[in-house]
C-alpha cells in the first residue's frame, strides 16, 4: 500500500494491523509522535490523517492506504506554525512529552474551527492528557493562535 508521511510518498508492506504509531516511531524514526497508553486514552500519539486529528496508537496501517499523514515533524518547516509560535510565547511545555499530541490536536481544532470558544477548546483538547498540568497555558495558547487572537 502507499501513503504519504509529511509530504514524502511511502510504501508499506508490513503487518496491516500494526498501529501507525509504531510505523512512525520504529520504521521512519519519527519519534516526535509519542507512546503514552496504546488504547487511545491519552492522545500523546495524535497525528493528522488527511487533516483530521487521529490517535495513531489505535490506527492500523491498513486504514491508511492513500492517506496523507502529518506528524509534529511535518507540522511546519521551521517550527513556526501559529500553534508552535503560541506555545513558545506562553512557555506551555513542562516535560514536553505530551506536547506533540497537544499541538497536533490544537492545530486540527483551529483548522476546522478558527475561532473556538472555551467550550470548543475543552471539548477538543480533553482527549490529550498532560500529567505536568499545562492545561491552562494550552487554553491560552490556543486562543492566542486562533483567528481571534492574532
Amino acid at each position: 500500500m502507499r501513503l504519504t508521511v509529511n509530504g514524502t510518498p511511502r510504501t508499506y508492506d508490513g503487518d496491516p494491523a500494526q498501529p501507525l504509531l509504531w510505523y512512525l516511531r520504529d520504521e521512519l524514526g519519527l519519534t516526535g509522535t509519542k507512546f503514552g497508553c496504546g488504547i487511545s486514552a491519552c492522545g500523546a500519539c495524535t497525528v493528522h490523517v488527511d487533516g483530521t486529528a487521529m490517535q495513531s496508537c489505535v490506527t492500523p496501517m491498513m486504514a491508511l492506504a492513500d492517506k496523507k499523514v502529518t506528524t509534529i515533524e511535518g507540522l511546519s518547516a521551521n517550527g513556526d506554525h501559529p500553534v508552535q509560535q503560541a506555545w513558545a510565547e506562553a512557555n506551555v511545555p513542562q516535560c514536553g512529552y505530551c506536547q506533540s499530541g497537544q499541538m497536533m490536536a490544537a492545530a486540527a481544532l483551529l483548522q476546522r474551527t478558527p475561532r473556538p470558544t472555551a467550550a470548543d477548546i475543552d471539548s477538543a483538547m480533553s482527549a490529550v492528557l498532560c500529567r505536568c498540568g499545562t492545561y491552562t497555558r494550552i487554553r491560552a495558547a490556543i486562543l492566542a493562535a486562533s483567528a481571534g487572537g492574532r
Partner: protein, 753 residues
Amino acid sequence: MTTPSDLERREFLRQLGVAGLVLAVDATGVHRLEAMPAFFAAGDPLQPSVHLSIGEDGLVTVICHRSEMGQGIRTALCMVMADELEADWTTIHLEQAIGDPKYGDQNTDGSSSIRSGSYMRFRMAGAAARQMLEHSAAAEWGVPASTVTARNGAVVHAATNRSLPFGKLVARARTLPVPAAPTLKDASQFRFIGKDVAGLDLHDILTGRAIYGQDAKMAGMKIAVILHPPVYGASVASVDSAAALRVTGVERVITLATTPIPSGFQPLGGVAVIASSTWAALQGRRALQVTWTASPNDAHDSTAYRAQLEASARAPGRIARQQGDVTAALASAANKVTAEYYAPHLAHAPMEPPAALASVTADGCECWACTQNPQAARDEVAAALKIPKEKVICHVTLLGGAFGRKSKPDYVVEAALLSREMRTPVKVVWSREDDIQNGYPHTVAFQHLEGALDANGKVTAWLHRVASPSISSTFAPDQTDLSDGELALGILDQPYAIPNYQAESCKAEGHSRIGWYRSVSNVPHAFAISSFIDELAHAAGRDPRDFILALLGPDRIVDMTKVGAVKPVDNYGDNWETHPLDTARYRKVLELVTKEAGWGKRLPQGEGLGVAVHRSFLTYVAVVVHAKVTAQGEIVIPRVDIAMDCGFAVHPERVRSQAEGAVIMGLSNAITSELSFRNGRVVQSNYHDYQVLRMSAAPRELHVHLAASGGPPGGVGEPGVPPVAPALANAIFAATGKRIRTLPVGRQLAGAQ
C-alpha cells in the same frame, strides 16, 4: 523574554558546527551526545569545575548533572552559571552529565536541585572562571586586575576601550589556579538569575526533536517488553512461549529472575519478549502463557487493608512527638472533635512510561535512560551484572514526566540484563499497563485525629495517629510503620501553637513496592491536618482563615528541639538554622492567597471557597480553591489561587509553571485518582480506569502569586501539591455541607446538592 533569543543561541552553535551535531543526534538517536568534546578547538578548554568548560572558540559548555523532567533545571543551572560567568547567552551550550559521583548528588528528587547546593556551586564555578578570565586579560594588557571587567562574553578594559572575548583568554586562564573563594555578584547585578528566560529545550520539544528514554536508539537494537509478576513477590512458575515465538519479528523469550522481597531498586522479574520492533514485542507478550508462584501478598485487598489500617490507627501507636498531656486535655475538653481520613495509593503515571536502552559488551555496559537517578542506575546495573561500576556508563535522556517513579532504576537493570543475554543493544519499553500495575505506588494512609476546643474555641489538644506503609519496607525487612523521615513530612514539623500535642505512628505492613511520589507523605498528611483544622474551625464557629491564623499564633521561629519530638526532626536534609520553621511565612502566604482570591466574598448556592496552608521542602504554600458542585454531584472549579514563598526564586517563570502543575496534580489526587489491589494485583491498568485530570476538569482560572521572600532557595517542584486536596475538600464543605474524608472524591457528591 529578557534574554537574547534562543534562535541567536542556536545560530551561534550552528556556526560552530555544534548544531550540526544536534541534528545528527536527531537522526541517529542519542548515542553521539558524548562526541561533543571533539568540537573544541585545538587547545584544551578552561575547566575550573566539573560543571563548566570554556573552549578557545568561545563555546561555553555547561554540564548539567540533574535530570530534566519539566521543572526547567537544565535552563536554570545554565542561567546561574552564565550569570556569574558574565557569559554571552548565545554561546551557552548545554551538556547532560552521565551518572558519576564526581558531580555530587544527582538524584533529582526532593525538590532539591537548586536548594541543596547546586545554586551556590554553579555560582562559585561561574565566578571562579570569570575571575580567571579577568586576571588573564589584565596580564595580557599589563594592567591591574581591578581595572578590568567581564561583560557578556568578553573582558573589557574601559579606560583604554580594549576588549578580549573569553575564547581568546582561555589559553592563559587555564594556567591559573582556580580561586577557592571568588567574589560573587551582588543580586542587583544579576542578568539571568531571577529573570524569565526561555527554556533551552523548548524548540526541540515544539518541533518533536526532543529525545526521551522511549526514543533512544542504537544500530542493531532490539526491543523488549516484559510480562511482570502480577503480585509483588511472585516469580515465574512456567512459561509457554510457543505462540509468542510465532509472532513475526519476535526473536527470543527470556525468563528474568524475581528479586526477593524487599526488592529495592532491582527488577521484579518476569518474562521478556525480545523482538525487532515494539509492535512485535507487544504482540508476542500478549501471546505468552505464564503461570506464577504463590506470593505472601496474594491475598492483599485494598478494602480489607483499609479496615486493618483503621483498626491500627484507632489504637495507640509509636509516639513520635509529645507535648503536654494530650489525654487529659482531650478528656476535659469543652468540645472534642474526632475525624478520620483515608487517602489511597496513587500511581505516578508520567506521560512517558519508563524505558531504557542498554548495550552490554566485553568492555562493560552503556545505557541511556529517562532516569532521575543515574548514579543509582549505574550502581544497580553494576550489581546486577556483577561488574565494577566504573564499567557502567549511564546517560540521561529527557524525562517525559517522572514524579519520583524514575528515581528507581529497575527498568534500566532490566535492559542491561537483557542486552547481556542477547549480545545486542536492547531497549526495554514499559507499556502504560506495566507502569500502572508494576510500579512503586505512593503509600496509602488512614489517619485518626482528635482535637479539643476550649469554651473560647481555642485548640487545647491535638492527637494525630497515622497508619501508612513505609517506603522503607521496599528496601529493608520488618519495616512495619512510617519512618521518622516520613513522619517529618508534615506531622513532626507541624507548626501550630497547641499546648497538648501528640503524634503516633501505627502499624501498617507493606504488600507492594512503595515509592516516593511528588510531595511524598506530605500528600496524605496535609490532607488530614488541613481538613481537620477546617473541621475544628467550623466546630468553633470561626472563619477558617481566621482560625488558621489564630492556630499559628504569634510570628515566631519554632524551636524544633523543643517540640517534643522523640528523635531530631529532619528538615528535608537541610538544617533548621538556615531554613527554620517560621510561622510568619505561613501567615504571609495565607494572607496573600486569601486576599487575592477574595476570601469572604458571597457565592451562589452550591459554591464555596476552601483554604489550606502547608510547608514542605522548605517552601511555604497556601491555596484557595473555589469549588462548585452541580446538581449531578460533579465538581466544577471556577478558580484556584496558589501563593508560594520559596525563598529566592532563581527562575520565576518555571516556579510559576511548577505551581500551576502542582495544582492540577493535586486536583487529580483529590478528585479522580486511586490505585487499589485485589488478590494481590493492581486493579487499574491504564488511563481509562486510573484517571487523571483532563482539561475539561481543570480550573477555569489558575492564579499563581509568588511571595518569594528572598532568603535561601527552598524547593519548588513538590510543595505546591499538598495543600490542594484539603483546600478542595474544605471548599466542597463550604459549598455543600458535605465533609470529604476519603479520597478521591469520585462520585461521593452525587445527591449532595
